[in-house]
């Protein structure tokens, strides 16, 4: 094709305007406040304002391509053909949170320009350009992403995982209603609704289907969910066509959903349908699915050569349905603007954006790793301290002797403690309500705090985590439960790609604080097989900013949970609390009935600082360090006692925190004893033991210490006693310790 599609679309617009029918303006124009048509509320001046946003979005798309051609821009996925979404940007309130599709450019511009009339000065052309050139001055992500987002305009930035924002949108909608029900003041008004836009191909994604399913599940329980889904349907996902009727069929049948369809190339039809959709959603507090039929212009992105998979005729047919041209024709036919006015508007927007673009390429970019990484998980320890101080003052002291209890009781109690402290805290997951959780960790909590705050969810971890993310955006402090570590993996993107990265991609302007509890690890005495004994946390350990806590005993569980919640509340951080199932009910340590693993409930001032390990000592002297966590602590202490009886001095370091890992303490162990035995209940490949070895190598000369690892095998966990064949045993730990002790230092 000799002419680029950019030129073709650009020229088509101008030619289309020139060729169109024009009303006789000398006979009188429509006034600003007149409706633009017989049965619509859309006024003439409003229609022109929407047109301006559409035109601006179009020229930004052209400019992104031009900049890319000069090597200055890094993103060319545009909104061309989708400009009908401008009406959503006009009709939602500025405090209706919206989670946007990457083609929602016109929507974003219109919403931003409305903001200025409501005390939110907005410069969206400049901001989008800053994003295109990845400038550190880009207000939403500081150059870390090209994304439609804005703190004051309630547009949390989305990642690129296509449908991954649907669960959290559902969560946010849930939060609005739950907040109202509980009488809590959240960050948006009680009658807010949540907007969520995405493409037709995105709807095929499992995460999207799961979110729709969860909404339907909620609807069948009569749970209100004021969510407006906007599907901008251009019929394609890059080169893959969406089957005809699929979107409609998928949604119409869903209980509780209102399905509305509009021609997204007709401004009036879109305006009226979206108006109605929003009214219905705001009034009924039920999901509304607005199916906007759009076209895709300029291919998927600048690098996509459409002719490889589409006929020229088809491409040109879509171009003929250009929504921006359609709006121009509407304005001409209804006597709102003249041809020369429209072309003036079009050309002056082009010139404006070009001038801004020439300026934007001079703006600074991120340079250093430190600059880039700053917003991942900013941590101000003094703020956590202050929060702990504040809350402990509200807690009553233990008051005298209390019976020591096992860890499950301690966790149950610390959860209750914080449900009291934080009215905005929620506990939810599979079976956590009346059943109290499959291990009874949440026993009695629904009764005590009500079903508004302690409730069951459907069987879908993506929905559980999405619910947490959405609620957290609006001011709740969610503590979701994942029933087993194995079940976390199917939903990990909600943490890995979404929750943990929100602060990074929004320069800490948005956060979603939460503590995710996960029943984890193995050693359940043959019960349950692999999926109840999963010992792999590799998927968690390289998520920047994510806190990983592994309590081995009751008093640590309490101290660590206090810190986790205070950190979430005061720093907006995301923490995971990996609870070793096999230690939930553990009572004894060295002998039956010795009660060695029972703890008194810690006094209010006890909190375990982030990253602080716990040291145990057995015997006199410092001959061996066992570095471990979770089940390794219990087993390691038993081995240590036996060695101590033989005169060996053992230091056992319970890491407690796998992220941030207590690096200093680990290195100090090697310095002190010269013999480090890592007991790592996870797999040899990918378990924390690997990291510890590297840290020691980096921190010390390799001559200075001896190192050994006892780990799980690179295996799945079989059912029954055979599980022990692939997991570290006390015998192995003992054997490895003795080998190390034999070696000189």
């Amino acid at each position: 094709m000799a002419v680029s599609r950019v030129e073709a679309v650009d020229n088509s617009f101008v030619q289309g305007v020139e060729a169109a029918e024009e009303a006789d303006l000398s006979a009188g124009r429509l006034r600003a406040e007149d409706p633009i048509g017989p049965r619509t509320r859309l006024t003439a001046s409003r229609a022109v304002a929407l047109f301006e946003a559409q035109v601006a979005s179009r020229h930004l798309d052209f400019e992104a391509r031009r900049l890319k051609g000069k090597g200055r821009s890094f993103y060319t996925i545009g909104s061309s053909g989708h400009e009908g979404n401008v009406v959503v940007g006009d009709l939602l309130r500025l405090d209706d949170p919206v989670f946007l599709h990457y083609r929602s450019g016109a929507l974003f511009l219109r919403r931003a320009w409305r903001g200025a009339a409501h005390g939110i000065p907005s410069t969206p052309l400049w901001d989008v350009l800053l994003g295109l050139v990845a400038s550190s001055e880009d207000p939403i992500s500081g150059g870390r992403h090209k994304v439609f987002g804005s703190r004051p305009l309630w547009i949390p930035p989305q990642t690129s995982t296509i449908a991954s924002h649907l669960p959290k949108s559902m969560g946010a909608a849930f939060a609005i209603e739950r907040g109202r029900h509980l009488g809590l003041e959240l960050k948006v008004p009680e009658d807010a609704i949540v907007g969520c836009s995405f493409g037709d191909a995105s709807l095929g994604h499992g995460v999207a289907q799961g979110a729709l399913g969860a909404c339907e599940w909620a609807s069948r329980q009569n749970l209100p969910l004021p969510i407006l889904f906007v599907c901008e349907d251009n019929g394609l996902g890059i080169s893959v066509r969406t089957p005809r009727g699929w979107i409609e069929g998928n949604v119409r049948r869903r209980h509780g959903f209102t399905y509305l369809q509009a021609d997204g190339t007709s401004l009036v039809e879109s305006y009226d349908v979206v108006s109605r959709a929003i009214e219905i959603c705001r009034e009924n507090r039920r999901p509304v699915f607005c199916h906007l039929k759009t076209v895709r212009l300029l291919a998927h992105a600048g690098s996509d050569v459409e002719l490889e998979y589409r006929d020229r005729e088809e491409i040109e047919a879509d171009e003929a349905r250009d929504p921006v041209l359609a709006t121009a024709v509407l304005l001409l036919q209804r006597g709102v603007l003249s041809k020369s006015e429209i072309l003036d508007l079009y050309e002056s927007m082009r010139t404006r954006i070009r001038a801004l673009s020439d300026e934007v390429v001079t703006r600074p970019r991120l340079q250093t790793a430190k600059e880039v990484m700053d917003p991942i998980a900013p941590q101000r320890t003094e703020k956590v301290e202050r929060e702990l101080h504040r809350t402990r003052a509200l807690l009553e002291s233990g008051g005298g002797e209390e019976k020591p209890r096992h860890m499950a009781v301690a966790i149950n109690r610390v959860l209750a403690e914080h449900m009291e402290l934080y009215p905005e805290m929620l506990l939810f997951g599979e079976d956590v309500a009346r059943k109290g959780g499959v291990y009874h960790l949440t026993t009695g909590l629904q009764k005590r705090f009500g079903s508004g705050r302690v409730f069951n969810t459907l069987l879908d971890e993506t929905s559980i985590l999405g619910l947490a993310i959405g609620c957290a955006h609006l001011g709740f402090l969610p503590v979701p439960e994942i029933q087993y570590l194995a079940y976390y993996h199917n939903a990990q993107d909600q943490i890995r790609g979404e929750a943990a990265s929100l602060s990074f991609f929004s320069r800490h302007q948005f956060t979603n604080p939460m503590v995710v509890r996960v029943a984890s690890f193995a050693y359940q005495k043959g019960f349950g097989g692999h999926f109840h004994n999963d010992n792999s946390i590799a998927a968690l350990t390289d998520v920047p900013g994510l806190i990983l806590a592994v309590p081995a005993r009751g008093e640590d569980a309490v101290g660590m949970m206090r810190t986790l919640l205070a950190t979430a509340r005061s720093q907006g951080r995301v923490g995971m609390f990996l609870e070793p199932i096999a230690l939930y009910m553990k009572k004894d340590l060295h002998e039956e009935r010795d009660g060695g693993w029972l703890d008194r409930y810690p006094d209010p001032e006890v909190a375990v600082p982030l990253g602080e390990p716990r040291l145990y000592r057995e015997g006199r002297g410092e001959d061996l360090s066992i570095v471990t966590y979770g089940n390794g602590v219990w087993m390691g202490l038993r081995v240590a006692r036996k060695l101590a009886e033989e005169g060996v001095g053992v230091r056992l370091l319970d890491l407690r925190w796998l992220a941030p890992l207590p690096v200093r303490a680990i290195i100090q162990e090697a310095e002190r004893t010269g013999r480090v035995l890592v007991v790592d209940e996870c797999r040899r490949t990918g378990g924390p033991g690997e990291r510890i070895a590297c840290l020691l190598l980096e921190g010390l000369s390799s001559q200075a210490f001896r190192f050994a690892r006892v780990t799980g095998e690179d295996s799945y966990i079989p059912l029954g006693p055979a599980a022990h064949a692939v997991l570290p045993s006390e015998a192995e730990i003992d054997q490895a310790a003795r080998v190390l002790l034999e070696e000189g230092v």
Partner: protein, 349 residues
């Protein structure tokens, strides 16, 4: 042809130095001046007031006269308008118009939303209504240092001080690196007690602006009510021909502006709410990407505020006062002040 933003000054821009300026302009460029002064004089004389020529020709500058809304507003408007007429349309292309406070009324006229007569009637009437009904005073305080860069510590303490007088004192104008506050005496006294004194550019801050009232704060509520009652119908409002940016940083386009909404903003929100001149100038830069900023007279009172706004955004690579001055001294100054003949030459017919 340079793409430029036109900026219209506000109260205080017609000062001692400007006395007689209209007469001088008329002598220099009658074709650009006479018609407009005739119109202004006619409108005022019809009401039984002295014309603008008469006020401009007084032997000495009288603050009680020239700085009062009823007299001063019209002088400022005329001075700005005549400068606008003197500009060569072959030399610059105006891409947006901005005004500071009272300068908003001038901006309405310069942008074509109001014709000259309507604009003059508006600014003149508002001046009188404000004299009659506006309460309080204004206080000015710098939030930048000698280098015109933000002083975050001072900004923080300023915000704390403002909190202490919440409900009594309001931010009235964000004027570049300066904050102009509006309140009644007791509130302003209380605020002053909490503001650390600052020396900047040879002046001591904070100080009260002479002849000022609590403009752009709730203290002007009755002004707004009276203005809406008497002026909404009297003035013919239309969409601007050149885009306008208001005291909220909002753009009013030639195509989509609803004149009734513009009128409402002008007579209501603009009168009783913060006028964020900084956001307006920043909006002009980031929405239109101009090559330069042209400051209409009278006087030359906006240069510092505009410079400080440029510095705050690091616009055109200008990071501090030294950068700004060096750009201004170069062959291509970025801010062209009609009040300085050397700069004005570059844009005059």
């Amino acid at each position: 042809m340079r793409r430029v933003v036109i900026v219209c000054p506000g109260r205080g821009s017609y000062g001692r130095e400007e006395l007689g300026s209209l007469r001088r302009l008329e002598a220099e460029a009658p074709a650009r001046t006479t018609e407009w002064l005739d119109r202004a004089d006619r409108i005022r004389k019809e009401r039984g007031d002295s014309g603008v020529r008469e006020l401009d020709a007084l032997e000495s500058f009288r603050p009680s006269c020239h700085l009062r809304g009823a007299q001063g507003s019209g002088l400022i408007y005329c001075g700005s308008w005549i400068d606008w007429q003197r500009i060569d349309p072959e030399k610059i292309e105006p891409v947006a118009v901005v005004g500071n406070s009272l300068g908003w009324y001038t901006a309405l006229a310069v942008s074509g939303s109001l014709d000259f007569d309507s604009g003059f009637t508006l600014v003149d009437s508002m001046g009188r209504i404000q004299d009659d009904l506006a309460l309080g005073q204004q206080l000015i305080y710098p939030l930048v240092g000698e280098n015109w860069q933000s002083d975050p510590e001072r900004e923080e303490r300023f915000q704390e001080a403002l909190q202490l007088v919440a409900g009594q004192v309001w931010e009235s104008i964000r004027f570049g690196g300066f904050s102009v506050l509006g309140g009644e005496s007791p509130g302003l006294d209380a605020l002053e007690a909490h503001l650390a004194p600052v020396e900047l550019g040879g002046r001591s801050y904070p100080f009260r602006l002479a002849g000022s009232r609590g403009f752009h704060t709730p203290l002007a509520a009755e002004v707004s009510q009276e203005a809406v009652k008497t002026l909404t119908q009297k003035i013919g409002w239309s969409a601007p021909r050149i885009p306008l940016i208001d005291g909220q940083g909002r753009v009013w386009s030639p195509w989509s502006t609803d004149p009734a909404e513009l009128a409402r903003y002008t007579l209501e929100r603009q009168v009783v709410g913060l006028f964020d001149f900084q956001a307006a100038v920043r909006g002009a830069l980031t929405e239109f990407g101009p090559e330069a900023i042209v400051l209409l007279g009278p006087g030359d009172s906006l240069g510092a505020a505009v410079g400080q706004t440029l510095i705050r955004s690091g616009w055109w690579g200008i990071q501090d006062r030294a950068d700004f001055q060096s750009r201004q001294n170069s062959n291509v100054p970025v801010v062209v002040s009609m009040g300085r003949s050397d700069q004005a030459q570059t844009v005059l017919r």
